[in-house]
Symmetry: C2
């Protein structure tokens, strides 16, 4: 039987650097598939439909909700964000690990529907650093910035529900830690029952 | 409070290559302390007392058993092997990870006394390979070789009780996997409560 791939959920407070870390992780890990989210928010500069997100109209998004097409979805700051379920199932069934980059609210929903997921929480090295990063993004008004920062503080406590925590002090280090976590999880005995069966079979010959 | 170091137990059937893997792992991981075992067996060529083993007389070993000086000990093929407890406790208390290379019988005893240990099972790529390796050692008579091989097959089933399994197909790869496991374990949320406390404290300022 083909081993099912893992659902790797990388999540963390707004401004922790999820996007940068996941981009580098994917570049260095070609065997890792990426789950592209759907959203109704407008594309930021440089974002490509079907690559960064599936950009949907509100109507199209709500249609898909009705049809049960999302592993999870949420309304964040007035925009829908959701994770299309079908592609993830296909790829995991084919033995591929699938990376899901998602906010903490979404991750909590995924945790309920997919408790076998591998939940990795990305933490900023400090709150001061987090504020600096959110300010640096510059696509924010002061009001939405303060709201994001306040939420980020609340979100940090959510990390205690994850299995792993990775401090994003340097992108390269954070990526290396996540790669180590993936390697380690693939070495778990309960993921490798087949190794023992093969050796047992050989014994009986 | 200082975080306690991990007790890293690398174990596996006779002839799996534990020694070679652990030697390379230690060379590449200077922050990992090594738990030197005590034994009553004669040193093999090149083995140094206080480095490879503490070589003890039977009388001295039995004295230490009486004094409760061993985390575990066992009689294997007529010789005692044991793990001195005191040094391990000191180093873990100082926040150091301690590596223990041990046979499967010993590991089972450690698992009972130290269930918080990190148990890594080293597996030969195949039984044919295992036999070749045991034969290659050449310090064995045919009788002790067959006994070792028979035991090794039985021991493989014990691996199902460990947390991680690493196939020793190539020493470099096996070592890299173990290093990834150590990194991952250090990222476990339940090993990093302090990270969340620091950020919480910062929030209250």
């Amino acid at each position: 039987m083909m081993k099912q791939g893992m659902l790797v959920v990388v999540s963390g407070p707004s401004g922790t650097g999820k996007g940068t870390v996941c981009e580098k992780l994917l570049a260095e890990t070609p065997e890792l598939a990426y789950s592209i989210s759907a959203t109704t928010r407008a594309p930021r500069a440089g974002e490509v439909d079907g690559k960064n997100y599936y950009f949907l109209t509100r109507e199209a998004f709500e249609q898909k909700i009705q049809e049960g097409d999302f592993l999870e979805y949420a309304n964040v700051y007035g925009n829908y964000y959701g994770t299309p379920l079908g592609k993830i199932q296909e790829r995991r069934a084919a033995g591929e690990d699938v990376l899901l980059e998602i906010d903490t609210q979404g991750a909590m929903n995924v945790m309920q529907r997919c408790p076998d997921g591998l939940f990795i929480f990305l933490l900023p090295p400090s709150l001061a650093e987090l504020e600096q990063r959110i300010r640096g993004r510059q696509s924010e008004t002061e009001e939405s910035l303060l709201r994001r920062l306040g939420n980020a503080k609340k979100e940090i406590a959510i990390g205690l529900k994850y299995k792993y925590v990775v401090v994003n002090d340097q992108v390269e280090l954070a990526v290396a830690r996540i790669k180590s976590i993936l390697t380690a999880e693939h070495c778990r005995v309960d993921m490798n029952q087949d190794l023992f069966e093969v050796l047992e079979d050989e014994k009986r010959k």
